[in-house]
């Protein structure tokens, strides 16, 4: 009876939260997969992105659109066949 009335009276947001929390809690294989996903995302965003893949233009102090335009145009012009 209590469970029934609690379900009826739950707000849609609470229902959604419960749906997800129960879903995550009942996972078996999913826990391993989520661990892999989180490790992978951590490697990608906290190691690769920061240490190996910085924004090249920002790294070279080309911050404003004008700086970037000037830099790219000079690169494109310099590299052309004479």
């Amino acid at each position: 009876m209590f469970v029934f009335s609690r379900t009826i009276m739950m707000s849609p947001i609470r229902k959604i939260i419960l749906f997800y929390t129960e879903g995550f809690r009942s996972m078996n294989l999913g826990k391993t997969l989520w661990t892999i996903i989180l490790i992978k995302l951590a490697i990608m965003f906290f190691i690769l992105r920061i240490f190996f893949f910085p924004d090249f233009l920002k790294e070279n102090n080309k911050i404003s659109p004008e700086d970037k335009q000037d830099y790219i145009s000079s690169e494109l012009i310099k590299r052309a066949n004479p």
């Binding site: 997800y20 999913g30 997969l33 893949f53 090249f56 590299r79 052309a80």
Partner: protein
């Protein structure tokens, strides 16, 4: 002027991008193909109410989830590489590349991630109808994501719907529909997604054959095989038809790629298509007299028909494209020397335009802006030093194309035989046939990767066809930093792949959960 970029920087950056893209492509086609098969199986459950289908779909959904988890976000690494290794390119393509990728990101995030959760957590919690809708919406979301990625790729092969702005040094989209629905984009989407469906079918068929080999879950395996065979046969026939459309488009917009795929140096009307052959390693120059292909088996007139739908169509070879003068729909083709001259005019006009703007000389600026616009279709040729630089790797394209087409033909035969076997109750217990089925899984992966090798290495040296070569697209980085990240990726991808295969094999061995219904 002419500050040459170290060629090994280009090679390593390309290798790094190719490694990431090929790794990413191990997961995407299985998501597309297996997802649809799963949705069909769940539809069978919804329609019949038979719990057998629920147990079946839950097994395939588990494998789909493993593939999804390992593959998810691997495409983001490509975007890191754009910003670091290909910064000139990233700036130069502007919103044309950004818009489809942004749409893809939003779609992938909202559609796939929302409905994937319902798909996995929603059994017995939401209605059967809502669950089925979620499964279909997950796969529709994944397919729509693929659409936008392929639109961006197609634009690099056939840049349309844009105008170059010399002030911002960016290509700006002026016709969204031309970009989103170019014939190359449409055909690329159809052909690529169908190849994913073929792979999904081969995957389901191969694993079902494994259960038959182990004499386990026979009813489940045969039911899965029937769906895989129908689906795989339909997809592989349609994929071949779409492949014909791809060849037509390549002949029209990337004739050098077609010539490399065929190792065709001197073209003709009534040009045949080489079915089998060996590229002559002694052919060292595009204009020497050494025959390019040895021991060839040719289908007469076929290439002319593929390219122009008429056997009298002239198909230009590599030498023809470099020398120019062959007939096209716009009159005689320009020679490479003429294109290089126009490209040089375009790059000079960009330099002079920007100088004139800084000087405040409006007349000079306008004159050079017009000159740039007129010659912009050849802008990339301004970076080409000699015609040989325009020739892609001929043996790689020649063999990769034949691997793709050969395996595509094999899949049609394979799925047709599986169908006959299922309905006539023949061969399914034969070990040879079972092993053929299992080994078809890696063949489907090889076919898909070979297709991408043709698509991407065939358009070299261009990052954007005719407009931007790799030598201009690349960032001025140290070669050693690119080498380091290349090997970091080799290790990371290998570890992830081993993890996926181990988890996948473990779950396959467990089989469907619960007792057979």
């Amino acid at each position: 002027m002419n500050e040459i970029i170290d060629p090994s920087l280009i090679d390593w950056s390309r290798a790094q991008f190719a490694l990431t893209a090929m790794y990413h492509w191990l997961f995407v086609p299985l998501t597309l193909g297996l997802g649809l098969i799963m949705a069909l199986m769940e539809t069978a459950y919804y329609v019949t109410g038979d719990l057998f289908w629920k147990r079946t779909v839950k097994f395939w959904m588990k494998l789909f989830g493993i593939n999804f988890a390992i593959g998810v976000a691997t495409g983001i690494i490509l975007e890191f590489e754009f910003g670091t290794n290909w910064s000139n390119y990233s700036w130069f393509v502007g919103d044309i590349f950004g818009a489809p990728l942004a749409i893809e990101g939003i779609l992938a995030f909202f559609m796939e991630s929302t409905f994937v959760a319902v798909m996995y957590f929603g059994w017995n919690k939401v209605s059967k109808k809502f669950h089925l809708a979620s499964t279909w919406l997950t796969i529709i979301g994944a397919t729509l994501s693929a659409w936008w990625i392929l639109v961006a790729n197609a634009w690099m092969q056939y840049p349309v719907g844009m105008e170059f702005n010399p002030d911002t040094v960016r290509n700006e989209m002026n016709d969204f529909m031309a970009v989103a629905f170019s014939p190359v984009a449409i055909n690329k989407f159809i052909h690529t997604v169908l190849s994913g469906w073929v792979l999904g079918a081969a995957f389901v068929a191969g694993i079902s054959f494994w259960f038959l080999l182990k004499k386990r879950e026979t009813e489940f395996a045969v039911a899965s095989l029937k769906i895989a065979a129908w689906f795989g046969l339909t997809a592989s026939v349609l994929c071949a038809i779409a492949g014909d459309g791809s060849a037509y488009n390549v002949g029209r917009v990337q004739p050098m790629k077609l010539a490399a795929m065929e190792a065709l140096y001197e073209g003709h009307t009534r040009q045949g298509l080489i079915a089998l052959g060996v590229v002559n390693p002694d052919k060292v120059a595009y204009n020497d007299s050494v025959p390019p292909v040895l021991l060839k088996l040719e289908i007469p007139n076929m290439l002319s028909w593929l390219v122009g739908r008429n056997i009298q169509t002239f198909v230009p070879g590599i030498k023809d494209i470099i020398d120019g003068g062959y007939p096209t729909t716009h009159g005689p083709a320009l020679s490479t020397a003429e294109k290089i001259k126009k490209g040089r005019i375009a790059v000079d006009a960009l330099a002079h335009y920007r100088e004139a703007v800084k000087e405040g000389n409006a007349d000079r600026a306008q004159l050079n802006r017009n000159l740039l616009k007129e010659n912009y279709p050849y802008f990339g040729y301004g970076y080409i030093n000699k015609p040989e630089e325009l020739i892609p790797n001929v043996p790689l394209n020649f063999y990769a194309f034949r691997v793709m087409v050969g395996l595509g033909s094999y899949f049609i035969l394979f799925f047709a035989l599986v169908l006959i076997a299922c309905y006539k109750n023949k061969w399914l217990s034969g070990k040879f046939f079972q092993w053929v089925g299992i080994l078809t899984i890696p063949l489907a992966y090889i076919a898909g990767e070979a297709g991408w090798i043709v698509a991407e290495s065939g358009r070299q040296p261009w990052a954007i066809q005719d407009v931007l070569p790799n030598s201009a697209a690349i960032s001025r980085l140290g070669v050693s930093s690119v080498q380091t990240t290349f090997f970091v990726f080799v290790v990371l991808f290998a570890v992830l792949l081993i993890a996926e295969i181990r988890i996948m094999l473990r779950e396959i061995k467990k089989g469907p959960e619960g007792e057979p219904v």
